[in-house]
Amino acid sequence: MTLSSLRQQLLAGQTTSAAILSGLAGEIAARDGRTGAYLSHDLESAMAEAENVDLSLPLGGIPIAIKDNINVLGQPCTCGSRFLAENYRSPYDATVIRKLRAAGAIPFGRMNLDEFAMGSSTENSALQTTRNPHDPERIPGGSSGGPAAAVADFTAIAALGSDTGGSIRQPASHCGVVGLKPSYGRVSRYGLVAFASSLDQVGPLTRSVEDAARILQVIAGLDPLDSTSLEAPVPDYLSGLNDGVKGLRLGLPKEYFGEGIAPGVRRQVEAAVQALAAQGAEVVDISLPHTEYAVATYYVIAPAEASSNLSRFDGIRYGQRAANPADIPDLYKRSREIGFGPEVKRRIILGTYVLSSGYYDAYYSRAQKVRSLIRRDFEAAFTRVDAILSPVAPSPARKLGGASIDPLDEYLSDIFTLAPNLAGICAISVPCGVSAFDGAAALPVGLQILAPHLGEAMLLRIARAAESHE
């Protein structure tokens, strides 16, 4: 059941918001013990909101699950971290939550994630393991693994996640749902716990492209509380959704179809490309020559920004504080020692190093320049094509591996999703069938579509055409 079809039922009087919520609570009780997508949920307060909901609003009566790094007034916001696991309650609503409420939606559920959104498997959550609903021995992807798994497991109708280098698209691909990363500046981040501020965006994970468009319509737009949000008018994302792809030019970057892609992923993505061609799109070969530098660039810039952003977690104003500190530096160091998990510590050290005196030019300054080259690659490509097609991830979901996974290997698997964040363009993952992989019979595969900055209407239109084939 999609958000859009539930809205029709609500308007026709065939169901109620309270009935939807109690239905979800039943699904969660039945299956989430295995999947582990929810860190917590508060049915009582959601039910109270459902009583007063205005069904005439765009998302009236629809519960939406929220990644646990987005603040919702009065609810926990653990970020999957021991640092915030106890005694933290959000003192305010994030702007995206305020906008969802104004559109009649009900925030319901706090969804698991890699700690502070750092990871691609949700295994870096300090609080809980989330499993892929398609195979419980496998990761759901990450860092928005909880939101993706719940939408795929029918324990949530739709969810909000955050995407810094693929954290919406890759779990959407691994779980077989739609995941949209809006353009940089399209959606306010006020109230999203910051990871890498030049890359972070909030976006929806849904069961259909239309659902993603409906949520983007509500959360997009200027916010005085986020100086990076843009004044550009928000177009109608629904009116052109079914316009099809006839006459559009779609680019296949040769760097995204090279070696290292699982055969089943290649087959499914190529089939999706052919289906779009059969609907009248012109498919052309293109090149994004600096693709091979995206991982190195990202893993300088993102940790650098993270090391700065996470300095606010010092044990003073909120969260974990070490007992009996000798002095202030001791309080900082030991609070952070017990509060942060290994991946967060690695990235703080890496980020501090690349920003430190003597290394800044060699690493951070150079990475920012390469970032310009990566952005120019896309600008040049979009003079020739309307959108770009690629796999989301080189392979379907791997098995749960815990601490045995090498960090650099994991970073390299993000190769196809990082560059769009560095370039600030919009991107979406759309399911494109299933593939056998590593002993599993049928795991979801995602098609990634990339469109120019603020090109979400075009992006969603192509995604809708790809989805109708699938």
Binding site: I348, I349, L373
Partner: protein, 97 residues
């Protein structure tokens, strides 16, 4: 550039992060491997290329200079680990004279 090497204990101290000997032993080869990959950036000629701090050139835009309500003190203090008399309490910062 030669094979990069991070002095993990020194950098962790800069980041106000206490680490155990085991953590340092684990992180050292991992971080050196990551930096080794980052070295690929040195293959590129970036002379004359502008640095992109952001993907979109919007800088320092101010919002309207209008007063608005802030969070009440109780909301700000509700998450403080230690508090007294409407303020957050921390260990002594200034040494005795």
């Amino acid at each position: 550039m030669s094979q990069p090497h991070i002095d993990v204990r020194y950098v962790a101290n800069l980041a106000r992060l206490e680490l155990s000997d085991e953590e340092i032993a684990t992180f050292q080869p991992q971080l050196d491997a990551i930096l080794g990959h980052v070295e690929t950036l040195s293959q590129l000629d970036v002379d004359g290329i502008e640095a992109s701090a952001h993907a979109v050139p919007v800088f320092g835009r101010m919002r309207a200079d209008e007063p608005h309500t802030s969070l009440p003190l109780s909301a700000v203090l509700q998450n403080a680990p230690d508090q007294s008399q409407g303020q957050i309490r921390v260990p002594k910062v200034v040494a005795d004279a």
